[in-house]
Symmetry: C2
Subunit: 402 residues, 2 copies
């Protein structure tokens, strides 16, 4: 069982915040109201940002979204090349969806969305910020869209990681109150990756890293990637472990019925990857490494009892791990709500891992923003839990200036 | 969202039953007490069974365990042959564990348990019943141990399925109040499987079927297995979809750190298999098919919101399914608590799928009985929920005479 549990007695807090806000706003829906009202924090905003966010003290919830995607034209072009080349890698389906190299005949409704998706990914300015404003999102924590630079040849990956991080840094300087950023790196060249990670934190002042799961079908527990984990730990910067479609050695059952991606493949990939980090003992080697998992922790909170029962040190499946899975979750992990807007699942995760380990996310532009905003505004949470999950934890974990 | 939800307002019932029983039993622990007290139902018991279960009206909880394993010597010998032959199939690890053909050097604590495990699997009489009595288990719903007859050549599989079902039927006749049984069949030969399924229900009066996930790496959504699904539906008999280690096309990341089996491979295999049944549209073809999933539904209840959001008909990943995943769960599935003795996960599942779809299980002899008994006796449930989960649902779903 987890060391720290919250509210396991079953009490649930009534959503008083939401009701109060409704009273204040005289019957307007919370969504419309927050889009109109803007943020309340007293930061020194660039002029153009201030105009879109009139102050309304105490009336709205600050929201920092933590799994938000962007791309740059150079990466998009390189992705098109990868997609054109083809192959059996399951991620080619999502590449075709985003970059539109080949019509995806298996899903008639996918391609129609493709141009919009790409244009929204490419925006680091007006288009993106106007959508944030319309939905009352104060800040996006940006990262290069799936699968990052991890499908390119090493040299190209290193160069594009650097370019992407530079552009991200520029966008953050242009909109310091609206964008934070997670750096990408090229695990294909661990030495270069470490140099880029250092540059991203120390020089570009980015807020952490995001890696799209496996690289060339190898997971981060492999010793070739230990320098990357060591760098993240040494820099004190969290590593967002974003899913990809399952690696080639696990792909077969996910090739049918569109099971490769957001319906199921991502869930299996991310949870399996996180467990490999726990069970390999790699988190004993890098005990201060901080890992962020999306999708409500890829259901690992739901599995914690069983994982502990089978894989606590000394038990059946434990080989190398010094701690219980639940102890790694408490020590090394934070989770986000990306893609799971279920108040029951959120409450379960708060009970299991604590409200201080959960961050709100939208997964823009792959998921619509409005329902994610409605979720964090209306889920039955205490005021403190709502503030922690909506922005406070993100500010603390990603070291975002308040 | 599921059509039917229970207690989503967050109220949790105090465990009054447990306290009452403690008062009645004058301070004895619930476990010891139930071992001493025996069942209360007024069935006509064979004499030897009656002796071990003195009546104590109203004082204890009837318990029917629904995922309990056995084997017969002929199957054990055939399993040893499979294990000796070797290969890359991930289930060879568990075969070596159970049948001890080859020392499993990767897990020092496994082999010491092997002789006991096998002797307990082989018992359909005194050894097994005395363990049930010692723990207050009224009835086991038995099924041939993992991986059933599914790794044998077709002819051998057909013959051993028949023999195993005959022995199971004999054990049930010898101990009609202690054993119910799920038939095995050989998907390798679908025609013979259908004949055996009919014989098992109509002639042997078994209570349903258990299949150990994929057969020769093919899942049950494949059209070659539709006759089997049609037979289960037509016979009105539930099909327990028991996990195996992941199929060869998914096995690679599970080959390290003992991740093949109960720690993680089973979870991924069973949930992926169940989702294939939903997303393939096979459950629209056999709408009255009843499937039972262990391990708290292999976490699918936790994922329901997301599954519906991505795979509801008309949405991104939906190709062939006519219903939402949550609607299939409500219409076609029941779940058991095997291997997950977590009151929070149980409450979550009750809220998501309903207390009338959840059955208690031990997974004897792979999991210890005492903690599973303690779990169902002490979990914070209403009297009605506890009775449903401990025995009523099993009696209804598996048509067990009361």
């Amino acid at each position: 069982m987890p060391k720290r549990k919250r509210q396991t007695d079953g009490k649930r807090t009534e959503p008083t915040t939401r009701i109060d806000r409704r009273v204040v706003l005289g019957g307007m829906s919370a969504i419309v109201a927050s889009a109109l009202s803007g943020p309340t924090s007293a930061m020194a905003l660039p002029e153009k940002d201030q105009q879109s966010r009139p102050a309304l003290a105490g009336a709205r919830l600050r929201k920092v979204a933590t799994e938000e995607a962007f791309t740059i034209p150079e990466v998009a072009e390189a992705m098109r090349d990868v997609a054109r080349r083809g192959g059996t890698n399951l991620d080619l389906k999502v590449l075709n969806l985003i970059y539109g190299a080949t019509p995806d005949t298996s899903t008639s409704n996918r391609n129609t969305a493709a141009p919009t998706l790409l244009s929204r990914l490419l925006s680091l300015d007006a288009t993106r910020i106007s959508e944030m404003d319309a939905n009352g999102v104060d800040m996006q924590v940006l990262a290069l869209a799936i699968p990052g630079v991890q499908m390119f040849e090493a040299d190209k990956a290193v160069a594009l990681a650097r370019l992407s991080n530079d552009r991200l840094s520029e966008a953050m300087r242009s909109h310091p109150t609206r964008f934070a950023g997670l750096a990408c790196f090229a695990p294909q060249d661990p030495r270069a990756a470490v140099l880029e990670m250092e540059r991203a934190i120390n020089r570009l002042k980015l807020n952490g890293f995001l890696v799209n799961s496996h690289t060339q079908n190898v997971y981060l527990d492999d010793s070739r990637y230990w320098p990357v984990l060591e760098a993240a730990e040494g820099l004190g910067a969290p590593l967002y472990l974003h899913p990809r479609a399952p690696s080639d050695g696990m792909a077969a059952p996910f090739r049918d019925y569109n099971m490769d991606g957001s319906i199921w493949g991502y869930a299996v990939d991310a949870s399996t990857h996180a467990l490999r980090l726990m069970l390999s003992g790699v988190l004993d080697r890098f005990p201060r490494l901080r890992i962020v998992l999306g999708q409500m922790g890829a259901a690992l909170p739901f599995w914690l009892w069983r994982l502990d029962s089978v894989a606590a040190p000394g038990s059946r499946a434990a080989l190398r791990n010094k701690l219980k899975p639940s102890e790694y979750i408490q020590r090394n992990f934070a989770i986000t709500t990306s893609g799971v807007q279920d108040p029951q699942a959120l409450r379960f995760c708060i009970d299991k891992v604590g409200a201080d380990r959960i961050m709100w996310a939208v997964d823009y532009p792959f998921q619509p923003t409005a329902p994610a905003v409605k979720f964090i505004e209306s889920a039955p949470l205490s005021d403190q839990e709502r503030a922690q999950i909506a922005f406070q934890n993100a500010q603390q974990i990603f070291r975002i200036a308040k």
